[in-house]
C-alpha cells in the first residue's frame, strides 16, 4: 500500500470528474499568504503528511486573511505530525457548508470484494458512527465482475434519505469515485466530508487515497505521487532504511527489507516472512533487544545479502548479529554465507569477540556451513531449531556483555 498525499489525491479525483475545492501547495508561509490572496476568500490550511486524523492532531488551520494564512502556515511548518515534519501545506478555499456526507471505497478482505460505505453524517469518524448509528450508514458490496450499476449509486443515497437533485448528484459522484478507485488501483479512497455547500453543490472537501503498489506497473500516471515505503513505517524512513531500499532495488533477485528499531543491541539478519517474525519473537521472549527487523529471502544475490548485512551492522549500538532463516525452499545458503561473511570482514567484525550466531539450513547448506565455519562464525543447521539458536545468541550476548545482558 502506498499513500498519496492530499494535493495529489484531490487532483486525481478532480480529473475523474468529482468537484474539489480550489487549492494550491505552499512550502513557505509566504507562499501560503499569496495563495490565500489569489483564492480571494477564507482558506483552510492542511499539513501535507501521510497520516490520518490530522484535524485531531491540530494540523488543520483556518485563515480569513492573507496575514492570518501566513501566521497559521508558519505554525504548521514548525509542526511534526506523528513523527512527520511538515514541509508542505495544502491551501484551499474554505467551503460554505450546509451538510457533510461520508463516502469511502475499499476492498473487504473477508468478503473479497470492493465495498462502498456511505453516510449522511460526514465529518466524524466512520467507525464511531457505524457503532453508534448503524441506521445512518449504508454498506454496499460490489460484485467485481458485474461492476457497480448506476441505479445502485442512487439506491445507496436514497436509503440514507437523500432526494431530489442532491440524490442525483450524490449518485453521480459515487459512480465517478468508484471509477477512480478502479482506474488508480486504490486500496482506499475516502471522502470525508463530502460537503454539500450552501449553494447546493457537492464537493470533496477532504480526501484520503492509498494505492496498491503491486499495480504500479500499470499506473504510470501515479509515478512520483506515491509515498515510497509508507506502508512499512510509522515515521519517515531513516537514512539506513533508505540505503537498504536502494540495496533491494539494485537487483531484482530476492528481497531485503529492513526496519530500524529504537535502540537494541542485536543485529537481526533473518529470513522468510514467517521465519523472521518467529525469530524476532524468540529473541524478545528471552529478553533480547533486536536493533532492527529484517526480512530476506526469495533467493537473494550475494550483493543483496552483503548490502543488507552491512546496513544492519552499521547501525550504532549493534553489538552482535543473529542470522536465522526457516529451512529454505530456494534461497541458497552458500550465497547467504558469502554475503554475510564478506560484510563481517569488511566491517572489521571479529566473531571471536562480537557474538554472531547463525542458523541457516536448506539449499546448498553443506557449502554454506563450510563458508561460515571457515570464517570463524558459530554455525547451526537443521539439527537446531530457530528457538534453540536464539537461546544460544542470548547466551553469547550475556557472556560478551555481562553489564548489558
Amino acid at each position: 500500500m502506498g499513500k498519496i498525499l492530499e494535493h495529489h489525491s484531490k487532483q486525481l479525483i478532480g480529473q475523474a470528474g468529482v468537484p474539489v475545492p480550489k487549492n494550491g501547495v505552499a512550502g513557505t508561509s509566504e507562499q501560503a499568504a499569496k495563495l490565500c490572496e489569489q483564492l480571494g476568500k477564507p482558506v483552510v490550511l492542511k499539513a501535507l503528511v501521510p497520516v490520518g486524523k490530522r484535524g485531531k492532531a491540530g494540523a488543520v488551520k483556518f485563515a480569513d486573511t492573507a496575514e492570518e494564512a501566513r501566521e497559521q502556515a508558519q505554525i504548521l511548518l514548525n509542526m511534526t505530525v506523528s513523527h512527520f515534519p511538515v514541509e508542505q501545506i495544502l491551501v484551499e478555499e474554505k467551503l460554505e457548508i450546509a451538510k457533510e456526507l461520508y463516502i469511502s471505497i475499499t476492498i473487504d478482505k473477508n468478503r473479497q470484494m470492493p465495498v462502498i460505505i456511505a453516510s449522511t453524517e460526514g465529518g466524524v469518524e466512520i467507525e464511531t458512527l457505524a457503532a453508534e448509528h448503524p441506521d445512518k450508514v449504508v454498506i454496499e458490496h460490489v460484485d467485481p465482475l458485474y461492476g457497480l450499476a448506476g441505479y445502485k449509486t442512487k439506491e445507496i443515497w436514497s436509503r440514507l434519505g437523500l432526494d431530489d437533485r442532491l440524490l442525483l448528484r450524490a449518485g453521480e459522484v459515487t459512480g465517478k469515485l468508484y471509477e477512480a478507485f478502479l482506474r488508480y488501483d486504490c486500496y482506499l479512497l475516502e471522502v470525508n466530508p463530502l460537503v454539500i455547500t450552501k449553494a447546493g453543490e457537492l464537493m470533496a472537501a477532504a480526501t484520503v487515497m492509498a494505492v496498491d503498489d503491486s499495480a504500479m506497473f500499470r499506473q504510470k500516471e501515479l509515478e512520483g505521487k506515491v509515498e515510497v515505503g509508507s506502508e512499512r513505517a510509522w515515521r519517515p524512513l531513516t537514512e539506513l532504511e533508505r540505503q537498504i531500499i536502494a540495496v533491494n532495488d539494485a537487483d531484482y533477485r530476492g528481497t531485503a527489507r529492513y526496519t530500524e528499531m529504537d535502540g537494541g543491541e542485536i543485529g537481526f539478519m533473518c529470513g522468510g516472512g514467517g521465519g523472521s517474525l518467529l525469530s524476532f519473537d524468540a529473541l524478545v521472549d528471552l529478553g533480547g533487544r533486536p536493533a532492527n527487523y529484517t526480512e530476506t529471502g526469495g533467493n537473494p544475490s550475494e550483493e543483496k545479502v552483503y548490502g543488507l548485512t552491512r546496513g544492519i551492522l552499521s547501525k550504532p549500538g549493534v553489538k552482535g548479529l543473529f542470522v536465522a532463516h526457516n529451512i529454505t525452499n530456494n534461497t541458497q545458503i552458500d550465497v547467504m554465507a558469502k554475503g554475510i561473511v564478506r560484510a563481517l570482514a569488511e566491517m572489521g567484525v571479529d566473531p571471536k569477540t562480537f557474538p554472531v550466531v547463525v542458523r541457516e539450513a536448506g539449499v546448498n547448506d553443506t557449502l554454506g556451513k563450510q563458508i561460515f565455519t571457515e570464517a570463524g562464525v558459530e554455525y547451526y543447521g537443521e539439527d537446531v531449531t530457530i528457538c534453540e539458536a536464539a537461546a544460544t545468541m542470548l547466551q553469547r550476548m550475556r557472556s560478551a556483555y555481562p553489564d548489558l545482558y
Binding site: 476492498i107 478482505k109 473477508n110 473479497q112 470484494m113 470492493p114 467507525e127 460484485d143 467485481p144 465482475l145 478502479l182 488501483d185 486500496y187 496498491d212 503491486s214 499495480a215 506497473f217 500499470r218 506502508e231 512499512r232 513505517a233 510509522w234 526496519t259 529470513g271 522468510g272 516472512g273 514467517g274 521465519g275 523472521s276 517474525l277 518467529l278 524476532f280 519473537d281 524468540a282 524478545v284 521472549d285 527487523y293 526480512e295 529471502g297 532463516h325 526457516n326 529451512i327 529454505t328 525452499n329 530456494n330 536448506g362 539449499v363 537443521e382 531449531t385 530457530i386 528457538c387 534453540e388
Partner: protein
C-alpha cells in the same frame, strides 16, 4: 489419501518456459511427480525437461486431459492465466505469483467461486503430498524429503518457508505429513485455514493438523469458529508468530502483506485466545509444537 492433490492429479504448468518455472518443473519431475504439459503462448512444440509445451490450456486439455494447474507467470498475466484455466475446466489451480494487483486477485477469486474451482494462493510456495510424491510449486525445492516425509499430520502455513520448517518440526517429533499446504502470504487468497480444515476433516489419513500463522486477516478467527461449531473435530495445534508486532505502532506491516494489524483486528493475542477457546492447542513457543504433537498423537493412539 491426502487432500487436493494425489495420483489422479493431471498437472499442467502455465508459464512453464520461464526461468523460475523451468527450475520448479525440474525439481517436480525429480521428485517423481508427473507433469503432463506446459503452456506458454507462442512456444508450442518446445519441451521443458521433457514436458511438452502448448500455446494454450485448451490444447493441453485436449492432448492430456489435464485437471490441475500450477500458474507461474508474472503479476500482469496472472488474472488472464487463471481465466484461461477456469474456462478450460481446470478444477484445482495453484497461483504462485507474488504481487498481483489486488483488483485482479479479487476478480480471479470471484470467478473461481462462481465455477466451483479451488484456488490455492496467490503468492504461495505450493503444496505437497509426500505419500504419493506429488508436489505443486517450489515447495521443498530440490530436496523435498528433507522436510516432508509421509505421515498423518496436515500442515497449513501462511508463510511459504515456514511450511517447510513446520513440516520438519513434525518430522522431528517423529511423524510425517499427509499434505502440507502453503496458503499464500496475502490477505486475499482462494483457500483459507478454515477451508483446509474442512478438507482435512474428511481425509481419513489425516489424524491431526498443525497451523503456522501470522498477524493480520481473520483466517484464524474463522478457523476457530469452524472448530467451535463442530466442523473440525481432530486435534488442532497452532502457533501464531509476530507477537512483538502488537507493541509496534498500528498500521505497520511486518512479514507478509497480509500481516497488517488494524485496530484490534488481526492481533496474534486475539487469534490465540479465539483458537484456545475453540479447543485448539495453541503453543506460545514454536518448539513446543514437538511436545504437544507427541502428546496429542500418543493420546489419540491410546484411544
Amino acid at each position: 489419501m491426502a487432500i487436493l492433490i494425489g495420483q489422479d492429479s493431471r498437472i499442467v504448468i502455465q508459464g512453464i518456459t520461464g526461468r523460475e518455472a523451468s527450475m520448479v518443473t525440474q525439481h517436480t519431475l525429480q521428485y517423481g511427480t508427473k507433469v503432463l504439459a506446459g503452456v506458454t503462448p507462442g512456444k508450442k512444440g518446445q519441451d521443458v525437461h521433457g514436458v511438452p509445451v502448448y500455446n494454450t490450456v485448451r490444447e493441453a486439455v485436449e492432448a492430456h486431459q489435464v485437471n490441475t494447474s500450477l500458474i507461474v507467470v508474472p503479476p500482469a498475466f496472472a488474472l488472464d492465466a487463471v481465466r484461461e484455466a477456469i474456462d478450460n475446466g481446470i478444477k484445482v489451480i495453484v497461483v504462485t505469483t507474488e504481487n498481483i494487483p489486488q483488483l485482479d486477485t479479487v476478480k480471479m477469486l470471484h470467478l473461481a467461486k462462481l465455477h466451483d474451482v479451488r484456488i490455492i494462493g496467490p503468492n504461495t510456495v505450493g503444496l505437497i503430498n509426500p505419500n504419493d510424491r506429488v508436489k505443486l510449486g517450489s515447495i521443498g525445492g530440490d530436496n523435498p524429503e528433507r522436510c516432508f516425509v509421509p505421515g498423518h499430520v496436515g500442515v497449513i502455513s501462511r508463510s511459504g518457508g515456514m511450511t517447510a520448517e513446520t513440516s520438519w518440526m513434525v518430522k522431528r517429533a517423529g511423524f510425517g505429513v499427509s499434505t502440507s499446504v502453503g496458503i499464500g502470504g496475502d490477505a486475499l487468497i482462494g483457500t483459507t485455514i478454515r477451508d483446509l480444515l474442512e478438507l482435512f476433516e474428511l481425509d481419513p489419513d489425516t489424524h491431526a493438523v498443525v497451523t503456522f500463522s501470522e498477524p493480520g486477516t481473520m483466517f484464524e478467527e474463522q478457523a476457530a469458529d469452524f472448530v467451535k461449531n463442530g466442523g473440525f473435530t481432530k486435534p488442532l495445534i497452532s502457533y501464531i508468530a509476530g507477537r512483538f508486532t502488537e507493541q509496534m505502532p498500528e498500521g505497520t506491516i511486518f512479514g507478509h502483506a497480509g500481516a497488517l494489524i488494524s485496530g484490534s483486528v488481526g492481533r496474534p493475542s486475539g487469534k490465540a485466545a479465539r483458537l484456545r477457546e475453540a479447543g485448539a492447542h495453541v503453543v506460545d513457543r514454536y518448539d513446543e509444537l514437538i511436545e504437544v504433537l507427541q502428546h496429542v498423537l500418543a493420546a489419540k493412539e491410546a484411544k
